[in-house]
Amino acid sequence: MTALLTVDDLTLRFGGSTALDGVSFDVQPGELFAVIGPNGAGKTSTFNCISGVYRPQEGSIALDGRSLLGRAPDEVARLGVARTFQNVELFDNLSVLDNLLLGRHQKTSYSWPEAMAWLGRSRRQEIAARRSVEDLIEFLDLASVRTMPVGILPYGIRKRIELGRALAMEPRLLLLDEPVAGMNSEETEDMARFILDIRTELGTAMIMVEHDMRLVMDLADRVMVIDFGKRIALGTPEVVQRDPAVIAAYLGGASDIVTDGLTDEVAR
């Protein structure tokens, strides 16, 4: 199986500091790939490079063999990459419905004169978009808030809306930046379920950045660890978890949280 996404030797610098330093990895179709690392390691920057927000100085990124480098974010989106953001980036003044419909921007294609007339293609496409978005609302259990402006909704719901918006883009590769941050365990479980469902039902490949080790270790097929912009480990959760370099740089004493103390039942 050829990789869906190949990232090779990615290097990103800001002025003097190096945010990413020769990071390479690949993501297989349908894979759930996790990226972890300390704060400021460069995880979000990796996402930003893939989705075209940052221009890396060196390296290559290819989706299905097509280079993503130098492409504007909207082109990358067209090629099938969708993402969520670490700091929820929803359009606060718009309703949930409109936020999700925005995800379908590329899937509708009528021109502005058609939009003005609101006949034929524009109308058909809008109704189709609406229909698929309603499905997502149902799926993500957002029906009760669908016409509310996103700005006043609680954080957890907003994260879910963001996931919905990304899904509405029907991506081939979905980038999730800390999908369960700020959620309690119940909500985390819901989110985990959504992620698994997306994966099994839609077969979308996903890269997930997360600090919740339970989610990462339970869900991911493979885990990459970066520290100071460098890849320090890549492998299955079991392997990575025991990697001393990873424990030193990231899990630290906190690996206790996973392995003993209050949550010891969680770890096998």
């Binding site: 800001f14 690392g37 300390p38 704060n39 400021g40 390691a41 995880k43 979000t44 920057s45 670490q86 700091n87 006043i152 909704l153 609680p154 954080y155 957890g156 719901i157 800390e178 941050a181 700020g182 959620m183 309690n184 365990s185 119940e186 909500e187 985390t188 479980e189 819901d190 985990a192 379920r193 959504f194 698994l196 469902d197 600090h211 080790m213 339970r214 989610l215 339970d218 869900l219 990231y250 899990l251 630290g252 004493g253 906190a254 690996s255 949280i257 996973v258 103390g261 209050l262 949550t263 039942e265 969680v266």
Partner: protein
């Protein structure tokens, strides 16, 4: 010495009642955890305590806040800060166009300029990465770095009470660990802490007392130890209840249990 909230109600836009008579007490020498699902009204309660409601077109429709049994006027946020209550706001909220150091200096706005250098140093030793980036614009920091900055900024005011709205959000496990120790330190230096957390495991591991909020009401009010042992808490907040296993096995139609609703 306590910061206490008495039976407070919060309404937004004159119609949406989101905190429905909540009372909590934060002793100067204690850590109090406030748990609750998304949208329970925790942030709203904090806003009520720090005078930030009117920014959100909300107001306190009943109840009051007191320090040491003396009522404080919480309608003016600057007065609240001067009274010694600092808040780490939800969503980091650093001044993106300021440098890291400027952010910290703004945090010390209510304090005299003397001693500011030491305070800065303290924050930089606590979070070395901030020290490395003190001249960088805060907006370009990573999410976790911004969170550290927000916590550091609140400490600059040397508050008597500090209200932390999800301080561990987006932090690496290692840092969470550090924050946990930090909070314990803060408490021992004589600052009362209100800890709003989704990471209940972390919160309850250090808290003395805990509250659970559901739908705007305080539904549980017990010592942390008791909460740690409560079955419902274990299931919904700690994720360690009956049947907890790999997240892969979680069923999505799992019924939500809610108190009083």
């Amino acid at each position: 010495m306590t910061l206490a909230v008495h039976n407070i109600e919060v309404v937004y836009e004159d119609v949406m009642l989101v905190v429905k008579g909540a009372s909590i007490r934060i002793p100067r020498d204690g850590i109090v955890a406030l748990l609750g699902a998304n949208g329970a009204g925790k942030t709203s309660l904090l806003r009520a305590m720090t005078g930030l409601l009117n920014v959100h077109r909300g107001k306190i429709s009943r109840g009051h806040v007191s320090i040491d049994e003396r009522p404080v006027d919480v309608r003016s946020a600057p007065d609240v800060v001067r009274a010694g209550i600092s808040q780490v706001m939800e969503g980091r909220r650093v001044f993106v166009e300021f440098t890291v150091e400027e952010n910290l200096r703004v945090g010390a706005y209510t304090r005299s300029r003397a001693g500011i250098a030491e305070k800065l140093d303290r924050v930089y030793t606590m979070f070395p990465i901030l020290g490395d980036r003190k001249a960088q614009r805060a907006g370009y920091l990573s999410g976790g770095e911004q969170q550290m900055l927000a916590i550091g900024r609140a400490l600059m005011a040397e508050p008597h009470y500090i209200l932390l709205d999800e301080p561990s959000l987006g932090l690496a496990p290692q840092i969470v660990e550090q924050i946990r120790d930090l909070i314990v330190d803060i408490r021992s230096s004589g600052t009362g802490v209100l800890l709003v957390e989704q990471n209940a495991a972390m919160a309850l591991s250090i808290a003395d007392h805990g509250y659970v909020m559901e739908n705007g009401k305080i539904v549980m009010d017990a010592p942390a130890q008791a909460l740690r042992e409560d079955d419902d808490i274990r299931e919904f907040y700690l994720g360690t209840g009956v049947g907890a296993g790999s997240l892969r096995d979680v069923k999505h139609y799992k019924r939500r249990k809610r108190w009083l609703s």
